[in-house]
Amino acid sequence: MRYAMAIDTKKCVGCGDCVVACQTENNVPIGYCRDWVVENVAGTYPQLEVEIRSERCNHCENSPCVRCCPTGASHIVEGGVVLVEHNKCIGCGACIESCPYDARYSHPDGYVDKCTFCLHRVQKGQDPACVSVCPTNCMYFGDLDNPNSDVSKMLATRKYKVLAPEAGTNPQIYYLT
């Protein structure tokens, strides 16, 4: 099993609903976030291109955060989901330094926190909160090992990219372009 997410940049309008839904679903304190939206503008008026992406932990196959963690608090579970065990985390910040996506943050309670792919929902057969709320329906979640999952189907038919592939992390958030 390999959980992954595909996000359609052709549909995303950058409303930030994924961010708010994550916040209320996972009780992320105000002023912090596990996911965020980036806008890239290229060109000169009126020849322009805008790409809008909802970003979060890439749940990398080769995850530097897990490698750098001195206590094993950062670990990989079923489906390749990278998690932080709060009671093992000492808050040293090594994983934060190691993440090319700046996807982690230091929770006010001390431990390091990040996207969990909403594993608590996924285990119940639901989509992650961000995916399930998106008004443009631009996010697809599922198991890459299952060719019939939403995400497999999108990756089979569309062009896509990942972020900073040269970082060698083998990220699992795919952007449909």
Binding site: G14, C15, Q23, V50
Partner: protein, 748 residues
């Protein structure tokens, strides 16, 4: 002239009986509200959920409020049965909990001590505050007549207050949603098709093959259902054509972006009409059968060629032709979107008319992928006596004007409040419910002048806003998560109703609007208009009349009802009589001609920015609703201030850096109260600037919103009034930059 719409009104009682028989109760399907919803697993909380529909914007998506076992509200999630949201709330709906938790909320009734505008209030009991309101309203009724009271309302809760004011005897009930927003399109579409566009819009975006947006920034305006359908259309390979001087988000998702010179839209629309007629691309059968005035239109647009339009709009003639052909190729599954906030330049009804005409030529009205025919569940009114007949109205201030307007103009109320010996101005008291008039109306000076002439003003809101500072009495309403409200029944493909019930007790000393209305009713001697004991009793009575019940709705949240008529797409050759003078789609408007207006739209040039000034364009951000959400902690986390978009060429000229704060000054010398951050971006033209509406709050009690960003409303001092429907055109304002704090400059 009887139309289908009239027929429904007549048979309202019968309708209830019919639907009663048809509806089936799906009791077994959903869990009961108030019951344990989720099993308690590891690290999991047990939830309770309560149906609601959102009050953060007018789209009113239905959802569920979730609470944990300690009774704490956790989250709000969309109701999957709801056609407004299909289970997906937008960021504001999801962040609606921020409204409930906002610690800056109005907490107790407040009574002014001292001068208006100077925010000195004392706390009072509800009894004292309501007695004071009733005393003043009764005094005004006695001295000047009940018509001298006006209600400004925005949002669901306004309905009960509106009922109160009608019972009191005043017809002056208004909302900014008409004269500051969608009024021109409703009047224009009614003049063309005999019907309005309505809300949610009847656009069949889901099935369209070509969507044309003219200044409509879907995606930045978060009209949930429309965005969802636009996404679906993108998935289905629909062509999107966006006309906008700014590279909007929608433009970035479009096949064609037409970077039009601001204020020239009518020229483009007329050129499109020219191409479609000239190249005979219009739906001939449809036009032959349903339309009136093609010949006049043909003559009218004869010289309005793409080459003519190029000189005005700066859009290449080839692009105009290509896009016109693209629309025609998709016909009738094409939508030239009527937009929503369309009060731009004072000729907005005419521009909306051009849009309506274009849609008519493409045969999209009443067709799949064009405009569907919505149907709503008709909820009978809870029995109460007939309203007294008003003797006067705001329109007395405008003799002979606005005969095509069937709603009340907010700005008309302002005019009718400022004393003028020549006009029948007579308004003495305002009740302002849920709308921050200083931000929602242009020309603040005039609004303030009107307020100064009031004898008494009440503001009912959940939050302190700029307007609350001018009230004599402030009544704190509880948020939508803490109250019942009227049943939502809005026109859609499938008629449907939705329930809002409280998920929690009202915080602080706040109360729901129906309670306020009933209590005021008692004190105004209007008890017989509020015969229900509890609001549940009223809702249950209404719901039972349409084949549901409060008990059932608490479980379902949303209930879809079958359509009474199978006419979702009704104009595929069937006979049809339109609600217009000719009974046809009026390409040539006899109604406008009768009123002395241009029966066919004409392009008229509008003023251009003077040297060193830039046209002030404003719009929406997807995570905020006007100025209402500016203090919502969940949403300010996404966007806490607005910025002014400046083209790099302009930035270079002014030596502006990204992130720098500047003040804006408009053509009338009005300077923004607060500085605004510069965003240097290619997404905006060099002759305009852009900012998101709703920021720059002056109310200090808004701890997160105070002084954040600048207010576009305060810079909109030049208003171009639409002579047809009184809409306030706001896009004719020009601003320049002030680099140093103007207050310090004055001091030194």
């Amino acid at each position: 002239m009887k139309t289908r719409r009239d027929f429904i009104k007549i048979s309202a009682v019968g309708t209830g009986a019919v639907t009663l028989g048809l509806s089936t109760v799906k009791l077994a399907k959903a869990s009961e509200p108030g019951s344990i919803f989720g099993k308690k697993a590891k690290n999991q909380v047990a939830y309770e959920r309560f149906p609601t529909y959102c009050e953060v914007c007018f789209w009113k998506c239905a959802g569920w409020t979730y609470k944990d076992e300690d009774g704490k509200i956790l989250k709000i999630v969309g109701n999957e049965e709801d056609p407004h949201c299909n289970g997906r709330l937008c960021p504001r709906g999801t962040g609606g909990i921020g409204m409930y938790y906002d610690e800056d909320r109005l907490k107790k009734p407040l009574i002014r001590v001292g001068e208006p505008g100077n925010q000195s209030f004392r706390e009072a009991s509800w009894d004292e505050a309501l007695d004071l309101v009733a005393k003043n309203l009764n005094k005004i009724k006695k001295e000047h007549g009940p018509e001298c009271v006006a209600l400004f309302s925005h949002g669901t809760g306004g309905k009960m207050l509106s009922h109160l004011i009608k019972a009191f005897g005043s017809p002056n009930i208004t909302a900014p949603s008409f004269a500051q927003c969608r009024g021109p399109r409703e009047v224009a579409f009614a003049a063309t098709f005999g019907e309005e566009v309505l809300s949610p819009e009847r656009t069949d975006i889901r099935d369209t093959k070509c969507l044309v947006l003219i200044g409509s920034h879907i995606g930045e305006n978060m009209h949930n259902g429309q965005i969802q359908e636009m996404s679906e259309a993108i998935d289905n390979g629909a062509t999107i054509i966006t006309v906008d001087p700014r590279f909007s988000t929608a433009a970035s998702h479009s096949k064609f972006w037409l970077p039009i010179k601001p204020a020239t839209d009518i020229a483009l629309l007329m050129a499109w009409i020219h191409v479609i007629i000239n190249e005979e691309l219009y739906d001939k059968e449809y036009i032959d059968k349903y339309a009136y005035g093609l010949d006049q239109l043909k003559t009218h647009v004869k010289n309005m060629t793409p080459e003519w339009a190029f000189g005005i709009t700066t859009i290449e003639p080839d692009t105009i032709r290509e896009t016109a052909r693209e629309m025609a190729a998709a016909s009738p599954a094409v939508i030239v979107h009527p937009g929503r906030h369309v009060t731009w330049y004072g000729d907005d009804t005419q521009r909306s008319r051009a849009i309506a005409i274009l849609n008519a030529l493409l045969g999209s009205w009443g067709r799949r992928g064009g405009f569907f025919n919505p149907e709503a569940v008709h909820l009978p009114k809870y029995p109460s006596p007939a309203y007294p007949k008003p003797q006067k109205s705001w329109k007395d201030a405008f003799p002979g004007q606005y005969n095509l307007v069937h709603e009340v103009l907010t700005t008309g109320i302002c005019d009718a409040t400022i004393p003028n010996p020549d006009l029948g101005c007579h308004l003495k008291s305002w009740i302002v419910y849920g709308t921050n008039l200083l931000a929602s109306l242009p020309d603040q000076k005039k609004t303030l002048e009107a307020i100064e002439n009031l004898e008494f003003m009440v503001v009912i809101d959940t939050m302190p806003m700029d307007i609350t500072g001018y009230a004599d009495v402030i009544l704190p309403e509880c948020t939508y998560l803490e109250r019942y409200d009227g049943i939502r029944s809005s026109p859609h493909r499938e008629p449907n109703i939705a329930l809002r019930m409280p998920a929690a007790e009202p915080k602080y000393d706040s109360r729901p609007n129906y309670w306020i209305a009933k209590e005021l009713g008692k004190r105004l001697g209007l008890e017989e208009y509020f015969k229900w004991n509890t609001f549940e009793e009223k809702l249950d009575w209404q719901l039972k009349k349409v084949g549901s019940s409060l008990e059932e709705m608490k479980i379902l949240g949303v209930k879809k009802m079958p359509r009474e008529y199978n006419d979702l797409y009704s104009l595929n050759g069937e006979d049809y009589e339109f609600n217009t003078n000719t009974g046809k789609i009026e390409l040539y408007s006899t109604e406008l001609a009768n009123e002395g207006f241009d029966p066919l739209p004409k392009y008229t040039p509008h003023p251009e920015p003077p040297q060193g000034f830039y046209r002030l364009n404003y719009g929406r951000a997807p995570m905020h609703t006007f100025s209402r959400t500016a203090n919502n902690a969940n949403l300010t986390a996404l966007k806490k201030e607005n910025s002014v978009w400046v083209n790099p060429r302009v930035a270079k000229l002014w030596d502006l850096k990204n992130g720098q704060y500047v003040w804006l000054k408009n053509q009338d010398g009005v300077v923004s109260s607060f500085p605004i951050k510069v965003r240097v971006t290619e997404r905006i033209r060099w002759d305009s600037v852009y900012m998101v509406h709703g920021f720059g709050h002056k109310e200090k009690r808004l701890s997160r919103a105070y002084g954040k960003g600048a207010s576009d409303s305060e810079l909109v001092t030049h208003v171009m009034t639409d002579p047809i429907m009184g809409g306030t055109g706001m896009r004719g304002n020009f601003v320049t930059f002030i680099l140093n704090d103007p207050k310090k400059e004055v001091a030194s």
